[in-house]
Symmetry: C2
Subunit: 651 residues, 2 copies
């Protein structure tokens, strides 16, 4: 108990919910790390595609980035509208459900869920890869580093989104600040002194084909994944949630846009090209850029260090959004219900744990190197962008139909442009990366949708079976037959029999012979010898029908078999009469007591509940070894654990 408290913090009461919401300051680290981190690999990915063009390639990076930044601006405007229109949860799932129908929403759900899981694995392994390219001696520990970072992010998120937002604020804002300074210095240098002497001579290797440019654009688009994050996590913000969500989105997009534009400008100005990762002496684009601008001083290490942190922690965005998305889907009965249950720190712990497990599995399977997963990842992101934007178009069309206004028309226009742009980008990415693995996503998404549907069918069947629209059907009260399982004459037996006689006039004590083996027959005689004096006489004296003692053979040394046989017999003789089986149970409170007992009571309870019938209930009569704690001490103990103080009050 104390162990859990130490790691995850005390259990938070429902009333703390408001205090646990986040503002824009925590919102950027909580939801923006994915987006900000992509400023590192987006331009790098585009430049990598341009490597074959030689030095001329860097000339194309500016127009490509310009298109991406325009697309980013469109997405920004679109998502601002989405957040305002769906202030409780504006994710693609919700928007599609409201506007495009059930199947489209499940398509968005499947794409988003896969995307978030991939984002964790890809983000962490990209961060670790960057770390290793800085410190190559860490290479043998790749997988362990990945798993440690995953464990850290999981733990912090299980403590709550607020804790994660606060803790990760330092690296986030250090990264943004140091790269802003870096870009400013670089732009100043480039503007005043022209290209530095280190720049290689431009060597034209021919003009780029449209296909290469499209490919470079598609790769660069990975810089935009993460923009939808805020819309999926609006529920995490404090009121007015729309305001804080808007601020957060603005901050993220602004930082990202400036970084992208600045990096593209400087890459061209300083003639920085991507290097081949598989060759010795590899340096990332941002590392080359920082070296060119400020050299390898302390500032370089602060900037690159914070970049590594942002990359490694970019998984945090998934940890903020995935559990909230799953919760929404689970509330619609398309995911298991535990996803909708708030955990000890007022976050959806099951979703967090599930995300950590699946991402951890991916990391282990791919041994910590997940670059093959990157194509799969961009597909899902742009599919959900498109679905969300298309859903918003339908939304505004309906608004317009209800009440025609130029505002609604303008908004529809923005979302339509967004839908078109992201749709085109989706098709380009799909074509460009189809053979690189994007086709896998097209198989996995329908499979996930089938799973979601089958979960829904199960719950629908359950509801159908449990639903009752009629009032209580209570007939004549028939006293139940109570069977008491007795092992020997003890204080536990005494208590159980007394309680049984409180419940019913028909009490049968059942003793099972030879439970421990063929020669375990000694207790029967002792019990039979005492029955008349110890049970029947006092029961009669108190005016009760004395309980019978029934001895059964347990040929297979299992309690439930002869008991179920007896139950069937009672059912046949007295159809409809309720039967209660009373199981006395010694309560073990210390771990070392477990191997010292045979736990027959617990196994019997499980078996009886499994194999019982409609008429049968199981009654557990506990027996406490130590004198049970008084109400006062229990309250004190629970209060110390911070769990009961004022926890409940009868309404």
């Amino acid at each position: 108990m104390n162990f859990k408290r130490l790691f995850f913090g005390p259990v938070l009461p429902n009333r703390d919910e408001r205090a646990r919401k986040i503002g824009a300051l925590e919102g950027v680290p909580a939801m923006g790390l994915d987006g900000l981190g992509s400023s590192a690999y987006g331009p790098e990915a585009a430049l990598t595609v341009l490597i074959p063009l030689g030095a001329a390639g860097t000339g194309y990076v500016e127009p490509i980035t310009a298109v991406i930044v325009v697309l980013l601006a469109i997405l920004y405007l679109s998502y601002r509208q989405t957040i305002r229109a769906y202030p409780s949860n504006g994710g693609a799932y919700t928007v599609a459900k409201a506007n495009l129908g059930r199947e489209a929403s499940l398509l968005a759900a499947a794409a988003l869920m896969i995307d978030y899981v991939l984002n964790v694995a890809v983000g962490i392994s990209a961060g670790v890869a960057a770390l290793i390219s800085a410190i190559p001696s860490l290479q043998p520990y790749t997988l362990w580093l990945c798993l440690c970072i995953l464990a850290l992010v999981t733990l912090i998120n299980l403590r709550g989104t607020l804790d994660a937002g606060r803790l990760f604020a330092l690296p986030t804002y250090t990264f943004a600040g140091s790269f802003f300074i870096l870009l400013a210095i670089g732009i100043y240098k480039a503007a005043t002194s022209g290209p530095p002497p280190s720049a290689p001579l431009a060597q034209v290797a021919g003009t780029a084909s449209a296909w290469v440019l499209m490919h470079a654009f598609a790769s660069g688009c990975t810089a935009m994944t993460g923009v939808e994050a805020v819309s999926n996590g609006v529920g995490a913000f404090r009121e007015p949630a729309v305001k804080y969500a808007h601020r957060t989105l603005t901050a993220i997009v602004l930082i990202l846009g400036i970084l992208l534009a600045g990096i593209a400008y400087l890459a061209n100005a300083f003639h920085i090209a991507a290097m081949d990762q598989s060759q010795a002496g590899y340096q990332s684009v941002l590392s080359q850029l920082a070296t060119s601008v400020v050299g390898r001083g302390a500032f370089y290490y602060v900037a690159i260090g914070s970049l590594l942190c942002v990359l490694a922690l970019s998984a945090n965005t998934s940890f903020t959004d995935f559990p909230r998305l799953c919760r929404t889907i689970a509330q619609d009965d398309f995911l298991p219900r535990p996803f909708a249950v708030v955990g000890r720190r007022l976050v959806f712990s099951v979703g967090i744990a599930y995300l950590a497990l699946t991402a951890g599995l991916l990391l282990i399977v791919f041994n910590g190197i997940t670059e093959h997963l990157i194509p799969l990842f961009a597909i899902g992101a742009f599919l959900t962008f498109t679905l969300s934007q298309a859903g918003m178009v339908v939304h505004w069309r309906r608004e317009y139909a209800r009440e025609p206004s130029s505002t609604a028309r303008a908004r529809m226009g923005i979302n339509a442009v967004g839908a078109l742009a992201t749709g085109v980008a989706f098709v380009i990415i799909l074509l460009a990366k189809f053979t690189a693995g994007a086709w896998i996503t097209l198989l996995v998404i329908p499979a996930v949708m089938v799973l979601l549907h089958s979960v829904n069918r199960y719950y629908a069947g359950l509801k159908e079976q449990m639903r009752e629209e009629a009032p209580l059907a209570i007939g004549a009260i028939e006293s139940p037959t109570v069977l008491v399982v007795v092992e020997e004459w003890s204080r536990l037996t005494d208590k159980a029999l007394t309680f049984a006689m409180h419940l019913s006039k028909e009490v049968i004590a059942v003793h099972l012979m030879a439970l421990s083996g063929p020669d375990d027959v000694g207790k029967r005689q002792a019990l039979e010898a005492r029955w008349a004096d110890f049970v029947e006489a006092p029961a009669r004296a108190a005016g009760h029908t004395p309980p019978r003692l029934l001895v059964l053979q347990a040929q297979y040394r299992r309690m439930h078999e002869p008991l179920i046989r007896l139950l069937r017999k009672i059912e046949t003789n007295h159809p409809g009469r309720p039967v209660a089986i009373l199981i006395p149970e010694l309560i073990k409170r210390k771990w070392w007591q477990y191997p010292l007992h045979t736990h027959r009571a617990r196994r019997l309870r499980t078996k009886l509940l499994q194999c019982g019938s409609e008429q049968v209930v199981v009654i557990n009569v506990p027996w406490f070894l130590e004198p049970v704690a008084s109400a006062a001490t229990v309250d004190k103990k629970d209060a110390r654990a911070g769990t009961l103080h004022g926890a409940s009050r009868p309404a």
Copy 2:
């Protein structure tokens, strides 16, 4: 279920006990493999000590073996008597308990238990080592081979001692037969043609010191461990158990004695010395002997192959005896009770599993090479020999005091010689192997004894607390307060409320709010809106006190906290009144249903039983999703599993 049945066989009923006992034919493989296998390493160990003496060393092997064979004969006679005197279980523990007192018996218990665990690890790793010296390419798989053999022996023994005895009979008798033939041919050759040309020239390296001879004797004595096995497992034999146990003991000792004497004679005649195991070209003594006698033909491979099997399976002796020993100790409340419970195949499965786990752990820790454990192992064996023999001396002295007779005196003499001889051997082994690790045993044995005592103290305290010598104390019947946990209006709620009203006039329905999180408040209104019409009205109409609906806040999203608070309040207002908490529970019967539910009912039951008080009982009302199987179909299913057919009958 079918998986278990496939691996372990169907569950055996108590009435099959007699049919599952073994005779002498199965007794030798079941209990004798340890003893027979030691014929391979006993002479080898003695000869290894003699290596420094050069060729002259083999000259000492005959007198040393002669002493060992005489000691073996004494042990044989002594253990025959022990078996007859304690026909149910004649192990050192029982003999010491009856004659030397509690502490001596626990000393024997600890020594025996350690010995059996070590025997498994040492036996298996010795067998694998022999296999690897024959096929060196298997060397990288040492640990895996050890664990596979351990798993095989464990599985067979979990199926029953009879199965193990039958299955292992083939290698056992092949080994005995082929080595008898080998010895016969060898003796014939040695007698007719003198030493073969391959024998090296005798080169006297000086006479042996007494210490070296003592050391060689102590090493050779490892050939005798396993002789006590039969006395520890008399309970496994069918009636008349003493007769079959005697036959088994005779067979084992006879085979072992002939092998030891024959090997010693031939080692001397053919001048076979031990080789240094750490050097290339190593061959074991028996392999050299077989090569010298019959060459490397098919016969050689049959003999050495069966020897490898016997060595690898020598662990089987422990699997026969250890669980039976633990059972006896557990019946005296010095080991946890599960050790005394007969498992599905009428053997003590917990003891078998425990033995496999601890031996497996030893194998893993020592990476499959356990030669360092051998000294520890001989100590325990000779300590128990001595205790058992000394106990028998006391036994016969008592017999003699009761009824003086020359038989009792003669028997006492035999056991006294046995005690003296094994006692001397124990001291020699202890001295000779003290620094080699025997001192560890002297630390571990007292530690185990302390553990046994603490288990006993726990059970004594338990008995003291549970014992009741008074009759049922039943006073005025007070109807219990029944609390019914309701989530929403459903058929399950209907059933639970109806049952509660069968039990008591005072029923309170408790609804817990916000269990899934702060905003989970919707069910309350629906429930409150229906209460009057659906519950109160029909209850009044049927003449019952209508159940109240109480809504509690679950601030910490745990059901038990507000409920326990309510319980404390009821207890304060109505001291001594029994309270029953009724928990409706959906029964899940398929594995895939588990992740789809929140399992609050089960957690609530556990918590209530843990934190409840003397007045509280917990009632489980099951709800079955599918129409519950009728008595007929359940019987059919259970009969198919071979578990219920005629399993029980009311006495």
